[in-house]
Amino acid sequence: MTAYDQKPETPDDVEAGDAVHPGHPVTVDRYTLGARINHWITATSLVLLALSGMALFTPRLFFLTGLFGGGQWTRAIHPWIGVVLFFSFLILFVRFFRANLPAREDVDWVAHSADLLAGREEKMPEVGKYNAGQKFVFWSMSGLIIVLIASGVVMWDQYFYNLTTIEQKRIAILVHAVAAVCIICVWIIHVYAAIWVKGTIGAMTRGQVTGGWAWRHHRKWLRELVGKGNPRGPHAPAE
């Protein structure tokens, strides 16, 4: 990783720790241990927030407050989990935003997204570390989390009651609910894609994918790694 990290022409989508290990099969380091821990703290927070939030969103799901020790606990803990998520995602954002900047092939990818869903992947362009779908997930999460933390603070009566008017709190509560529905939908897309595309989850658990996975789904990124790094020797460990 050091070999190409220092080069100013490192492509945007090659992140710290990304490296390819020749072999049979080829393995590719995709996420560092730090990135994975960061991701799973964020993921756990998001799931807990969704569960506690849904409990307060509709009476039919109020029973979910039982998971958090009752209604009072749910009310008290939900905003704090939100704070954890916000800062955890903030670090994740700094890690990932450069590789998620728009690229030329994104347009083509979006144009062919129906082919992808239909299983005609040969029609898809070569993409870098993230395809346009993943970038959509990244930027939607980023935007929605800002909306959620901002509206969340407005309705966090325990500490911030006096900062806003009741009318502003009403708007915040509606915005918070709508944004929460959106982020849960984005989360469903994210999780479904990870389940549908086999070999993906390992990237966030062990940190590695196979060369074939990278070749099939992120060929441009794989080419960059092979080209930039030293293809004949194993790279420094992911961390």
């Binding site: 992808l116 009403r170 708007i171 074939g212």
Partner: protein, 331 residues
């Protein structure tokens, strides 16, 4: 004079609960079957024109409900404390108002507190089952053991009444002395009022009494005198007689046309149903796609191509030549 409510009998036989669980008409975050027979609706009538601002009602409320308001500060006005609090369920609000028609200073004194709406915004906004109930006699009451302290009732209320206690993190407001009414008594504030500015009875009686009062006021030159029983919230079980009923807002911001905020309606209504439907649809779409399209698997050729690429041997062409060299989606 409105005939005062007699003191209750001290006989144990008379200690019968006049209403309770079986008379719950609405329960927050729950579906209840309303009782087949509705109790006679009760109401408290606050005749602002008879109020002398003595605050006996405020003191009686503290006393009956065993509330202990913090010792506050004199802000140079009679209103004290300056706002409703978790310990102040009712508050005399004093307004110095110059009548533009007569150029006279009028001292408007309004006893603020829960209006016990027929269509209660607090109850509709509440997410906790049974934290707010409405009895069929019209009393809206908070059940503290079910309250989670979220403050949604504050957003639902068109009158800015409920307050969350910093001590037990539950919401407080006037109960219309449901415990007293349950044994045939009037609310403590009404009992303490020395001028009958507060009277209590059935809603019909109160309307009748208000008519009589309004006629009297009109005969004295208050041509805009009228009853405040806002229909935007289905009418209330606390009503005012106002000398200037055409402009309720001069009475320390009494809403002219109170109703549950359309934002709250949208949040508790369409957002809830559409939101759940959209999330359910997203999950179902994913499931269906998996069933129909099957998993997206890496093929042997993909692995071989990767090996050839890393070994620097005849790297495959950049453009795919057949169906195996593909790109796909990952999260």
């Amino acid at each position: 004079m409105f005939p005062p409510i007699p003191n209750p009998s001290v006989s144990p036989d008379a200690a019968v609960q006049r209403f309770g669980e079986k008379d719950i008409m609405r329960r927050s975050a729950s579906e209840v079957t309303p009782p087949a027979e509705r109790l006679t609706e009760v109401a408290k009538l606050i005749d602002v024109t008879k109020c002398i601002g003595c605050k006996a009602c405020q003191a009686a409320c503290l006393e009956w409900n065993n509330l202990h308001e913090e010792i506050g500060f004199n802000h140079g006005v009679y209103t004290n404390p300056m706002d409703l609090t978790p310990d102040t369920f009712t508050l005399m609000r004093f307004t110095e108002w110059v009548n533009p028609e007569t150029d006279n200073l009028e001292w408007l004194i309004r006893k603020d507190g829960c209006m016990h709406c027929e269509d209660p915004g607090c109850l509709k906004a509440c997410p906790a089952p049974g934290a707010i109930v409405q009895y069929s006699n019209g009393i809206v009451d908070f059940q503290h053991e079910n309250c989670i302290g979220c403050g949604y009732c504050i957003k639902g209320c068109p009158f800015n009444i409920p307050r969350i206690s910093k001590v037990d993190h539950t919401a407080y407001k006037c109960t219309l002395c449901s415990d007293r009414v349950a044994v045939g008594q009037g609310p403590a504030c009404q009992k303490a009022c020395p001028t009958q500015a507060i009277v209590f009875g059935t809603k019909d009686e109160m309307k009748e009494w208000a008519d009589f009062r309004i006629k009297d006021l009109k005969s004295r030159g208050f041509e805009n005198a009228g009853l405040y029983d806002p229909q935007g919230v289905g009418g209330t079980h606390v009503m005012y007689v106002l000398h200037h009923a055409d402009t309720p807002s001069i009475y320390a911001g009494l809403p002219d046309n109170p109703r549950i905020s359309p934002i709250v309606d949208a949040w508790k209504g369409v957002t809830k149903y559409v939101g759940l439907a959209v999330m359910g649809f997203a999950a179902a779409a994913g499931f269906l796609h998996y069933v129909v399209a099957g998993p997206n698997k890496v093929s042997e050729e993909d692995e071989e191509n990767a090996e050839r690429l890393t070994e620097g041997k005849a790297p495959p062409p950049p453009e795919p030549t057949q169906g195996h060299t593909q790109h796909g989606s990952t999260p």
